[in-house]
Amino acid sequence: MASLKDLRNRIKSVQSTRKITSAMKMVAAAKLRRAQEQAEASRPYSERMSRMLGSLAGGMAEGAGGPKLLTGTGENKVHLLVICTAERGLCGGFNGQIARLARKTIADLKADGKTVKLMMVGRKGRDALRRDHEQDFVDYITFQDVKRMGFVQADDVANRVLAMFEAGEFDVCSILYSEFKSVIAQEPTVLQLIPASLPEEEEHGAETGGAKALYEYEPDEEQILEALLPRNLAVQVYRALLENAAGEQGARMTAMDNATRNAGDMINRLTLEYNRTRQAQITKELIEIISGAEAL
């Protein structure tokens, strides 16, 4: 049985753990709100971008031979996976979920005889996959020093992807990130970036009021697409990064909430045990004194 001093020390240490986790929870909640606002603010841009892209690609589809970013290289051998994870841990299963999906995707692609290249965005993902897949890593980007995720960061990632694509280093590119469903639910998702996956045709039809409006283009369709597609890539990456940022904070908040609650339970249990032990000790001492007096 633990001595009174041991119990006291344990209670104290669990108490300070609880202080830390509850502070982290509060910080995560504040950050989550900010991340959500940011994600919200970026939505109009990506919506309008895909609307524009939809109407452009609709016109392009008939005449084949569009830009490679839209149609692909015509091959399907080398896959680049951009795997986005958080920079920090202590956020429940958040990083683990993405890593698990990544492993599965890699295994599936390899089983199909494809070559896989990995671009790791975020430290935790790299750490998780380093053991099994380090030989497939081609690039590693970390935002450890970045305070606030901005479009600049997404642009950086997109530019690296584009540079690799232009060098012919891969045929298909997908991004893995965690979709922010709600504060307690994040769902790891794979989204194909190159060739660009286009918004649903119906959606676009509804937007323009049923009848497909005929657009005029300036300079011309091809040039606009050439400018628009890389931009679209960056926007998709940006969206993924923001969703991830929000998801990370959400996951951390839930995890820390649980931890705080567990610590509270533990303190209660330990306090009970402490009091019992203390009482037992007092009783024992009393008995000793009484029986000592009786023996006289």
Partner: protein
């Protein structure tokens, strides 16, 4: 009140302007164009320049854009801008410093790609500065 068209200016980070306007003059790559109600459907890329919002026949707002895309149709005009700053908020001193910094970067660039990147950044900063007056 004259007929209006829905004008939206969005940057990747947020929705900057969303209002009903009578006319917007947009700096397209092939020249300025004015988006008005019942304009024919039209998509264009943008050149760095100043976007002017008109109300009652005179300029109400002037916003600098570094590039992007514009989509115009009968009822609305959407501008996806890369970098949008109202003209009166352009930080001239900051830009000046930035250009000097980029000059150094160009001088000491280690590869052609780096130099080109710095040069294009410098050029866009210079255009921005030129429009500030």
């Amino acid at each position: 009140m004259a007929e209006t068209t829905e004008f939206e200016l969005v940057s990747p980070e947020k929705l900057l302007v969303s209002e009903q306007v009578e006319m917007v003059v947009v700096p397209g790559t092939e020249g300025l164009f004015a988006a008005m109600p019942r304009h024919a459907p039209f998509i264009s890329t943008l050149a760095p320049g100043v976007l002017e919002i008109y109300e009652g026949g005179s300029v109400k707002d002037r916003i600098f854009v570094a590039g992007g895309f514009a989509e115009v149709n009968e009822t609305r005009c959407t501008v996806l801008a890369e970098d949008a700053t109202p003209v009166e908020e352009i930080d001239k001193a900051g830009l000046q410093a930035r250009i000097e910094e980029l000059d150094k970067e160009i001088k000491f660039a280690e590869s052609d790609a780096e130099r080109e990147a710095a040069e294009s950044k410098k050029k866009s900063a210079e255009t921005k500065l030129a429009f500030a007056d």
